[in-house]
């Protein structure tokens, strides 16, 4: 059984359901739109800043504010890709066709990850240029130190959020349950925990809090993170790998 066959099959699956287009389009629209809006509004804020404040201003990161909303659509994408198999019962037909469960799972996740990355990369560059255009005179440019890394990093961050959702859904085997946990977690819980000083020390190791660091060019004032942009991203990668491993074990062990 060729991996190539299974990849092709998973590509057909992913492109033949509506949720793929809808969720990825929403991810792009939220990220670009909100980034543009906040960038345009920040232009006036920048004008009022003194020298000290300007030192910590991060025009690149500001244009990526929309990822906080866009990532939710990415989560839905990840949940639907895997969860669609479980909620519909398709999983049994799929595993009868590809009984090697590891091959099945990782082909599915690889195809979905590649697609998410392509969309996220395009979104990321568009978001950056649109956001910087809105910032006018305060804009960062792609050639500035750390900026290209942040732009590509934002695409990687968005991709990994989707992959994390895929792993979690493989463990929970239900799209509703997965959404019910992941959405409030990433929309409310981790941002709150990451902003409250008392919990920040621990919360900074949560996947989105750590991974988001890769989008920053300038560390914010009072930053306590013991890791740099790639260090934070590495922590996120570990979370994702852990989720995928659990998913793989559950798929291997349990009855379909």
């Amino acid at each position: 059984m060729h991996a190539g066959y299974v990849w092709k099959s998973e590509w057909t699956k992913i492109r033949s359901v509506r949720s793929t287009g809808t969720t990825l389009a929403l991810a792009a629209v939220f990220t670009i739109g909100l980034g543009f809006l906040i960038s345009a509004l920040s232009k006036n804020e920048f004008a009022k800043m003194d020298a000290h404040e300007l030192r910590f201003a991060d025009p690149t990161f500001i244009s990526f504010v929309g990822t906080s909303l866009g990532q939710l659509a990415m989560i839905v994408f990840g949940v639907m890709v895997v969860g669609g198999e479980y909620s519909t019962g398709m999983i049994r037909t799929s595993l009868a066709a590809v009984p090697r469960r590891g091959l099945f799972l990782f082909s599915k996740i690889a195809v979905a990850t590649l697609l998410a990355f392509v969309v996220a990369l395009v979104t990321s560059f568009v978001t950056f240029f649109v956001g910087q255009a809105a910032l006018g005179p305060y804009k960062a440019s792609l050639g500035d130190p750390g900026v290209l890394r942040a732009v590509i990093g934002a695409a990687l961050y968005m991709t990994l959020i989707a992959v994390f959702a895929m792993g979690v859904t493989t463990v929970l085997r239900s799209p509703m349950l997965s959404l019910g946990i992941l959405m409030p977690l990433f929309f409310l819980l981790t941002p709150i925990l990451g902003n409250v000083p008392a919990t920040r020390k621990v919360a900074q190791y949560l996947p989105d809090q750590a991974g988001g660091k890769v989008m920053q060019v300038v560390a914010p004032e009072g930053d306590i993170a013991p890791y740099g942009p790639w260090g934070g991203f590495g922590i996120m990668v570990l979370w994702v790998l852990a989720a995928l491993c659990c998913g793989w074990l559950v798929l291997k062990k349990r009855d379909a």
Binding site: Y5, S16, E85, T88, A97
Partner: protein, 316 residues
């Protein structure tokens, strides 16, 4: 050795499946041979679907094993070219069109895309190929599942209650399909809880109840031993009649409603015997036990979900 050297042979040995406390399948052993239709019969909850899921390595057996030509299902390269199965017609993503559903299955096993159009044609779904399957009727879903089973032109076909939801024309069609697949030398394994349905299609029968094997026999043999004819007698002088029959060396069994049943003796002979002893008969009728009755009798003790309105009055 002989069993596994023939292509298309399924061997189930000592198969047991436990879901927590519940033993769904209990030490099941049988084999399914090519060239014939094997009916897999059992009342609701007998463990048919569970057994079939284990055959496809979807559920892991608690103990025991299934071998397809000596291999585990998961060891088959491109399994759809070897085993085609319809387990649950609803096991598909309703948001995908019939065409794409079959296409992704074909691609995963290296089956040419042209085959998708062919099987859609065979099951008569060409006109709705591009419609999303969530809007399909039960019968259309069943046909799509059958199309998926046929996709890889497999040696072995497994159908779990394929007539579910099909109209009379569809039922007729699937019966003929199964027979012609077997006639081509393929292995056809089909489950049902209707004996009458199996009598029309199956050459061999595997009967289970509460997860245990109850019978593993050829259809002809099953009919021969089970479609017994007998004579039913009713008399107001039942005691005397029994006495007379006993002295004549004839065994009679009491059935419900004051009737007696006699095997292996003609109605004429019994009538004359009664007349000679001046016994009044209210009934003297030759009877034929139906296969359905034989099946119900076989599984009576193992039926899990009784309809309580139905009094049980099977002969013992």
């Amino acid at each position: 050795m002989s069993a596994s050297s023939v292509a298309g042979m399924i061997e189930v040995s000592g198969l047991t499946k436990r879901y927590g406390e519940k033993v769904a399948v209990h030490g099941l052993s049988f084999h399914v041979s090519p060239g014939i239709v094997t009916g897999f019969l059992g009342p609701n909850g007998a463990g048919k679907s569970t057994t079939m899921r284990m055959m496809l390595d979807l559920d892991h057996p608690t103990t025991g094993r299934v071998r397809i030509d000596g291999k585990r299902y998961a060891e088959l390269r491109e399994p759809l070219k070897y085993v085609g199965a319809l387990l649950d017609a609803k096991a598909l993503h309703g948001g995908r069109s019939a065409y794409h559903h079959l296409l992704c299955l074909a691609q995963s096993n290296g089956i040419p895309a042209s085959r998708v159009g062919e099987v859609l044609d065979v099951v008569g779904l060409t006109a709705v190929a591009n419609k999303r399957s969530k809007n399909f009727s039960l019968g259309m879903g069943q046909r799509l599942g059958i199309a998926a089973a046929l996709l890889g032109d497999p040696e072995i076909l497994m159908f779990d209650e394929p007539v579910n939801g099909l109209d009379p024309e569809g039922i007729h069609w699937i019966r003929n399909l199964m027979k012609s697949l077997a006639a081509q030398g393929r292995t056809v394994f089909v489950s049902s809880h209707l004996m009458s349905e199996m009598a029309l299609t199956a050459d061999h029968l595997v009967v289970i109840g509460q997860g245990r094997l109850l019978a593993d026999t050829s259809m002809a043999e099953f009919i021969r031993t089970n479609s017994r004819s007998y004579v039913r007698l009713r008399s107001p002088q039942q005691e005397q009649l029994l006495d007379v029959l006993h002295r004549a060396g004839i065994t009679a069994v009491t059935a419900g409603h004051g009737a007696l049943e006699v095997d292996g003796v003609g109605a004429e002979e019994l009538g004359e015997l009664a007349a000679r002893h001046q016994i009044v008969l209210h009934e003297l009728s030759p009877q034929q036990a139906s296969l359905e009755e034989a099946f119900m009798q076989l599984t009576a003790e193992s039926v899990e979900y009784h309809a309580h309105a139905q009094p049980t009055e099977w002969r013992t």
